[in-house]
């Protein structure tokens, strides 16, 4: 059933007769055009990565970061409308700080996601507001170990071992499904993430992109969310590009053998 012209897509808080909230679905459409974001839950931590599309050559390389920190131990990356994402992160920071000032202990990741889920869901209930135009991937380490969540404009919030969103999510998801999450370490996952973002960029090749990767690990970062060091990022990017070339060569070889 099409939503156009029926009137049920003009407002939040109104269901269509077949039980859908079209505003939320349109918000998902906004996300589907954003740069690909992924998150990997490893045995010893979390890796977040994003394909940052370069909209202007005048932007300063390496600045205007897309991955943000909610609290020392929690990182977030999102695809979709970037200002919506920044607002989401600010809310996350407020929640984390409020929790800490109440209980004098850092917020656990599942609890933060509970609160953020409620917050995002609220934006689907009133006709005076529109839903968030972002899907956010939130990762962190707490007393129970690493956690990875993805939260959608509907407020739906699930835990994942590997999460992907944005334009190249299909490619990214099928790559993520190949990983062994029981054994993979953050150090390995950094390279994998670079490779997946590189592959996901195939769908959007007319635009340049900048790779951003962050991690949280007890061993590498003492449980803090940080960007990976410059040299590791360069290494990961090189690895991703070389893998890509190898794949292309293999394809060429296959074609030659066929002909």
């Amino acid at each position: 059933m099409t939503s156009i012209g029926t009137g049920y897509d003009l407002s939040n808080s109104v269901f269509s007769p077949d039980g859908r909230n079209f505003q939320v679905e349109y918000a998902m459409k906004a996300v589907e055009n954003g740069g690909t974001s992924i998150g990997i839950k490893c045995k010893d931590g979390i890796v977040l990565a994003v394909e940052k599309i370069i909209n202007s050559k005048l932007l300063v390389p390496g600045k205007n970061k897309r991955i943000q920190t909610i609290d020392k131990h929690i990182g977030v990356v999102y695809s979709g409308l970037l200002p919506d994402g920044r607002h989401f992160v600010n809310r996350g920071r407020d929640e984390a700080q409020t929790f800490k000032s109440f209980y004098k202990t850092p917020i656990s990741v599942p609890h933060l996601m509970d609160r953020l889920g409620i917050y995002v869901q609220n934006y689907t209930c009133y006709n005076s507001v529109r839903p968030f135009g972002v899907v956010s991937i939130v990762g962190g380490i707490d007393d129970d170990g690493p956690h990875l969540y993805m939260i959608e404009p509907s407020g739906a919030c699930w835990g994942y071992t590997g999460a992907a969103t944005g334009k190249g999510r299909q490619t990214a998801k099928s790559e993520l499904e190949k990983l062994d999450y029981e054994t993979i370490t953050v150090k390995e996952a950094v390279k994998t993430a670079a490779k997946i973002i590189h592959q996901a960029h195939e769908d959007n090749k007319d635009k340049d992109y900048e790779l951003e990767i962050s991690w949280i690990s007890l061993e590498e970062t003492k449980g803090r969310h940080e960007f990976i060091p410059e040299d590791l990022l360069a290494e990961a990017r090189k690895f991703a590009e070389e893998e890509d070339e190898e794949d292309e060569e293999e394809e060429e070889d296959d074609e030659e053998m066929e002909s």
Binding site: Q68, T69, D71, K100
Partner: protein, 283 residues
């Protein structure tokens, strides 16, 4: 001299007549009766206290020490407190005075650290000691103007933006001052003279090596343990230094070293056997 604990230090009545409580406005008898007119006010005096923080600058950085004791009046109540707090990557805050206020300051500083260092710090700006000091001095002065001070004396140590060592004091009144040798509480009477033997003028710290500074600081901790009844011989020590050679303009590599559970070495209690009563009589 009357050695009864309740009259200690007072001239004897037979010789000098009754004690005049109005000397130097020292009377607290009258004040107490005035205070009775006020509602009971908590947090207007320290409860659990930490004693001196001692620190000095040297050629390449700063060094600071504080013991691990928390006293409940004269009772040595806790012996595992950490009073040297790291803020950001290259600043230490040493806090003496009320311990619950110390914990409050600790939380305020961690919040500051999160806001300034963790959130979107791609501008390359770092939270340094002068910023922490200015911020803290504003908080302490603000609380003093509310007649509800945070009952502490604090020393902030680290580096200026230009890489020179930074050391500055703030207390519960909001008073701030700087020097190459700083101590709070009893330390300002007992330790500062010892530190100034090493660094007579503020600028002299530029000739002092780390091991010299450390030696004098260790001596200060020993003297304080001897003479300050609220001091313990277990202490923590923080050294922050830049590891570059002279004349280099490249960004310096900074090291922050926090040592805990250090013990006052070389104690000698030989003099103790000659002490009797409250120490004023020598055998």
């Amino acid at each position: 001299m009357n050695h009864d604990p309740f009259h200690w230090g007072r001239p004897s009545q037979e010789t000098y007549g009754g004690y005049n409580y109005n000397i130097a406005n020292a009377s607290n008898h009258q004040q107490e009766s005035q205070l009775d007119n006020f509602p009971k006010v908590h947090s207007q005096q320290p409860i659990i206290t930490g004693t001196s923080v001692v620190s000095l600058k040297f050629k390449h950085g700063i060094i600071m020490a504080a013991d691990n004791l928390g006293s409940y009046g004269s009772l040595l109540r806790f012996n595992n407190l950490e009073r040297l707090i790291k803020v950001g990557s290259q600043t230490v805050v040493g806090i003496s005075g009320d311990i619950s206020d110390l914990q409050q300051i600790e939380r305020i500083l961690h919040e500051l650290e999160i806001e300034q260092e963790i959130y979107d710090s791609d501008g390359g700006h770092h939270l340094r000691a002068p910023h922490v000091h200015e911020y803290l001095s504003k908080i302490l002065y603000n609380r003093r103007t509310k007649m509800d001070p945070l009952w502490n004396a604090v020393i902030v140590g680290g580096f200026n933006d230009d890489g020179t060592p930074f050391l500055k004091y703030i207390d519960l009144l909001g008073v701030t001052y700087t020097s190459s040798t700083l101590a709070t509480g009893f330390g300002s009477h007992l330790a500062v003279p010892l530190l100034r033997q090493l660094i007579p003028n503020d600028i002299d710290y530029e000739n002092i090596e780390e091991d010299e500074a450390r030696k004098v600081l260790e001596n200060c901790m020993r003297v304080l343990f001897y003479r300050d009844a609220r001091a313990s011989d277990k202490y923590s020590l923080v050294t922050i230094k830049s590891e570059s050679n002279e004349g280099e303009s490249t960004p310096k590599k900074l090291s922050y070293n926090h040592e805990t559970e250090l013990k006052v070495e070389g104690q000698s209690w030989k003099f103790a056997k000659d002490i009797s009563g409250y120490g004023s009589k020598q055998l």
